[in-house]
């Protein structure tokens, strides 16, 4: 039971949802878009978030889209993480999804909710951040707009009143890479990450890595990718250099000290680079 009263709405179309948000705001209400609710309900119980209406998006057909259309792999924002794994359209996405939370909770967390989570990890974003051709379809007052997934963590990615409908990636690019996705936790298998690293090796041999848990937001760095791709150095040396050239300092929090995060990230990267040498 939530510690405050809310209204619950389940629109059937994108237009209904956008208009409803606007109407509720005009009535001075505080609506939120609702995916799986795992974050909205737990944070409400702890009273560190307040809203008075939820707009459950899961009944909108475009938000449930899941498949390949032409060159694109399309993933609706309302898909559960277990849907992604069951259909396994994009193995790198499955590998990352399968390490988020526990199996039952993954059956409740949605792709959109994790991508737009207000907590720092947003681990499911990592595969998308590694792609050249990955875009989000956002519902706005002016209809559907396409925005690059590379802008996910910028303020302009999604504005109040807008919601994520789906995400799509170029299927050829997404499936044409060797990949690894490793989540390192402090102790338990199920926990927030000390660091989660997704790494791809592209057909030209270049390496890209995306990180969650290292900072207060997921990120990729072109400088780190350049270092990781420099095969004149050993995997271990590249991993060391990458960690010392991260664009932000490692977090120091409950899950681990800065030095420990650096150590774990370096170790994990070295292991992944070693494995990818043979792929």
């Amino acid at each position: 039971m939530l510690p405050f009263d809310i209204e619950y709405y389940r629109p059937d179309t994108i237009e209904e949802a956008v208009k409803l948000y606007r109407r509720l705001r005009e009535n001075n209400q505080e609506p939120v878009f609702y995916g799986g609710g795992t974050e909205l309900l737990t944070r409400a119980r702890l009273q560190d978030v307040h809203y008075d209406a939820v707009i459950d998006l899961k009944n909108i057909p475009e938000v449930r889209i899941h498949g390949q259309k032409g060159d694109w792999l399309e993933f609706g924002a309302g898909l559960r993480l277990t849907d992604l794994a069951d259909q396994n359209l994009w193995p790198l996405l499955t590998a990352t999804a399968d390490r988020i939370a526990d199996h039952t909770t993954r059956g409740q967390i949605t792709l959109g909710g994790n991508l737009l989570s207000t907590i720092p990890y947003r681990e499911i974003s990592l595969p998308f951040l590694l792609m050249d051709e990955a875009e989000a379809l956002i519902a706005t007052d002016n209809g559907i707009e396409r925005r690059p997934m590379a802008d996910l963590t910028s303020d302009s990615f999604i504005k109040p009143g807008e919601f994520l409908v789906s995400v799509r990636v170029n299927g050829g690019e997404a499936k044409g890479v060797a990949y690894r996705s490793h989540k390192m936790t402090r102790q338990d298998w199920i926990d927030y990450p000390l660091v989660t690293v997704a790494v791809i090796k592209r057909p030209d041999g270049s390496i890209r890595a995306a990180f969650s848990g290292w900072a207060g937001f997921p990120f990729v760095s072109s400088e780190v990718n350049r270092i990781l791709s420099d095969t004149s150095r050993s995997p271990r040396r590249r991993a060391q250099q990458a960690v010392s050239h991260m664009p932000v300092k490692a977090l120091e929090d409950l899950h681990g000290r800065r030095e420990y995060r650096e150590f774990v990230t370096e170790y994990t990267l070295a292991q992944i680079l070693d494995e990818l040498e043979d792929d």
């Binding site: 609710g37 309900l41 737990t42 119980r45 039952t104």
Partner: protein, 157 residues
Amino acid sequence: MREFTQPEQVSLTINNEPRTVVAYPGETLLYTLRGDSLGLTGAKPGCENGDCGACTVLVDGVPVKSCLVLTAEVEDHHITTVEGLREAPIQKAFLDHMAFQCGYCTSGFLMLGHALSQHVDRADEGRRTEWLRSNICRCTSYQEIADAVTETCSSLE
């Protein structure tokens, strides 16, 4: 569009029986099940934070932490609680293996085990381990619980 702005009647099928309950829009399924009107107290409130799994029930056959879902979301869906198992093989296996001590976590684990046993074709060891990680037993009966689930799945294969 479904609009639910004040307490109102919600239809659910619970343990194969159609039921109607009055629920608030912000009411979790856990709260509705345990309330006076349904009185199904098998699903336990543990952490109410998605961590422990003591509140696990099945929605359309899929395990769900009922503290993490609004009753409004599951309107017109099929809910199975531990009260609906009625001598399912997983219950006998828990008894045979003494897979509990205090019993607080038991109904949640039973629901997970029951759901797995409905899909034995896919319930290999990796999957069983992965599913069972969703719940916590404070008395640490994990080995006995895993044995009971394994036995149930193997016997139904």
